[in-house]
């Protein structure tokens, strides 16, 4: 049963991003959340320690998320005028470890992104979520996004991964 709830959460997260419902998407995350998109250090190796490595994104705490969303929704960011259309597909959802208070979940994602300036791009990677229960609802505490791309070609903003 739990896996169904977990899947629903991940599908909801993806759908809110696609529908550009930023506030509702942000509400899925707890206050001391982390979104980590590591950079590749070489063709085969990701960076390990986000604190002291270059990361594609390392958003620690809700204010960091809100800063990105402010920019996306601002109608003033050159690269995001107009916004890309996205369609996220989240699959292969698996519970890796259930520690009761926290659950680690692994999944795969692909995103079709239609950027007005660049056209169609197809990107993908892995999600590693850590979910926690807060006031009876499952929410996101930690999300690691392993993006397969290392040579970025076009815009890769938070709503496009």
């Amino acid at each position: 049963m739990k896996i169904k709830i977990i899947q629903s959460l991940l599908y909801l997260e993806a759908d809110l991003l696609d529908r550009q419902r930023w506030a509702e998407w942000s509400a899925l995350y707890v206050e001391d959340c982390v979104i980590w998109v590591p950079a590749w250090d070489s063709e085969e190796v990701l960076v390990e320690d986000p604190e002291i490595s270059v990361n594609m994104m390392y958003l620690v705490g809700k204010p960091a998320l809100e800063a990105r969303l402010h920019r996306i929704a601002s109608d003033d960011a050159y690269a995001s005028l107009p916004l890309a259309r996205t369609s996220h597909a989240v699959t292969n959802i698996r519970v890796v470890e259930d520690r009761g208070a926290e659950i680690d979940v692994s999944s795969k994602f692909t995103v079709l992104s239609l950027e007005p300036r660049r056209g169609k791009s197809w990107r993908g990677g892995w999600y590693d979520h850590t979910l926690v229960e807060e006031a009876g609802t499952l929410r996101i505490k930690h999300k690691k996004i392993t993006l397969m791309e290392d040579v970025i070609d076009g815009t890769v903003d938070l709503y496009q991964i």
Binding site: S53, V54, M56, Y78, I152
Partner: protein
């Protein structure tokens, strides 16, 4: 295009005959000019390749392109750096399997030929089977790059032997390279993790963009607001606070034509006490002149070294390398350069600011790239052929201003406003000179 030669065309594209400095937009879109640039500039003179700390030990290599030609640099046993065309002497296969790696023996994965780090061919698979009388393997040495030199850890190569020394070529930019290279008693290092990205734009647009101050208050306005919102929500105390005074136009700024095509853009830091380098203030004051410390700590700088690299030290510290692929397709490789021995706290702050501003997945650089790509598209409107780059000419002075004089640097021109375009004159004059 009706032109006699690309070289002549390049000269015609930089025009000062009408009393105004203008550059033809064809410079960004003409494929014949691009081919000429590759031959004359990227394959005909010094280009930045990598930092010494990226190839520290015997066999460590770094692969890139010099113009259209694949090359690699490799650390040799006695500590020297060899440079070679990245092609097996047998049938031309690229020898490097990755951008960086280690190979004390260079082995071609096609037919198994081997070379040492000096480029000598040390093994031909089944040599006797191919040449029963033996063969002089010296004929099959890797093609060496004629010039490889390093300045303060920044390693350059030239595919042409007919170049001045690297020091001469860098000229007045050296005082500004020093401001980055001299930030630690133990030297500088490249932090793990890097990013490359592709731009649908001409390489010269990236060269301009990195030292263009005029766009900052427009394009990065949203960056300043996003960061302010984050801090208002209680994030980023102390050293992790982002300095954004240059974006809101509250501070002194300036630009220099340093000669040789090199350019510098600077802005006074609004809150230098939150710079990661600030933890070293005592050591800086003991080691360097007041002027140098002021430049290192209190002025954010973007230094462009002709033709292909930026050393940026403003919100964070970055090496940004430009690798042209075609006339409207450019690869950029970015690295965070940092002082060895920096505290973990300062390192983390440096990196968070790097991610904020310099990463194409961050909140500033993608906006620059979008603007740049729009210029590329707009430049195809050949009915409107010229860019005038004369903003701020009346404020320009010949030679050094007080700030650079005290640093011992002598620019061609100084301008007390980073909205000015006078620094581009130096870039395009050098460009036209090399292309002739």
């Amino acid at each position: 295009m009706n032109i006699e030669s690309p070289e002549r065309l390049a000269t015609d594209m930089v025009d000062e005959s009408q009393g105004v400095f203008r550059v033809a937009r064809d410079a960004y879109t003409d494929p014949d000019v691009f081919e000429a640039e590759m031959a004359a500039i990227f394959e005909g003179g010094w280009i930045y390749v990598c930092h010494e700390s990226q190839i520290p030990n015997h066999g460590d290599y770094y692969a890139t392109q010099a113009g259209r030609q694949p090359i690699f640099l490799i650390r040799q046993a006695e500590g020297g750096i060899g440079g070679f065309i990245d092609a097996c002497s047998h049938r031309g296969a690229v020898l490097t399997r990755a951008r960086r790696g280690t190979m004390k023996t260079i082995m071609c994965r096609f037919h198994g030929w081997c070379y040492d780090t000096k480029g000598a061919c040390t093994l031909i698979k089944n040599e006797a089977g191919g040449w029963p009388g033996g063969v002089d393997r010296a004929r099959f040495s890797l093609q060496a790059i004629p010039k490889v030199e390093s300045y303060k850890g920044f390693v350059y190569a030239s595919l042409s032997a007919d170049v001045p020394s690297l020091g001469e070529a860098l000229g007045e930019s050296r005082a500004f390279i020093d401001l980055v290279a001299d930030q630690s008693p133990d030297g500088m290092e490249i932090v793990p993790g890097n990013q490359s990205y592709m731009i649908n734009g001409n390489w010269k647009l990236q060269a301009e963009n990195g030292v263009d101050g005029y766009h900052v208050s427009t394009v990065h306005r949203v960056f300043a607001r996003a960061v302010a919102k984050r801090e208002a929500m209680g994030d980023r105390g102390e050293m992790r606070k982002t300095e954004a005074a240059r974006i809101t136009g509250e501070v002194e700024t300036g630009v220099y034509d340093l000669g040789g095509g090199h350019m510098l853009l600077w802005a006074q830091r609004g809150n230098p006490e939150v710079a990661p380098l600030a933890e070293k203030l005592d050591w800086l004051n003991q080691t360097y002149s007041e002027s140098k410390v002021d430049w290192m700590l209190r002025k954010g700088r973007n230094l462009f070294l002709f033709p292909n690299v930026f050393l940026m030290d403003q919100s964070s510290t970055q090496i940004r390398v430009i690798i042209p692929h075609t006339v409207d397709r450019t690869e950029v490789r970015t690295y965070c350069i940092a002082p060895k021995g920096e505290s973990r706290k300062a390192r983390a702050a440096r990196l968070r600011k790097f991610e904020d501003f310099f990463m194409v997945t961050g909140m500033a650089t993608p906006d620059d790239m979008a603007a740049l790509e729009d210029v590329q598209r707009g430049s195809n409107g050949r009915l409107a052929p010229w860019n005038e780059m004369d903003r701020g000419v009346s404020k320009s002075i010949r030679g050094a201003d007080t700030a650079t004089a005290s640093l011992g640097a002598n620019p061609v021109t100084s301008n007390p406003d980073w909205d000015s375009e006078t620094l581009f004159h130096g870039f395009y004059r050098e460009w036209a000179r090399v292309m002739r």
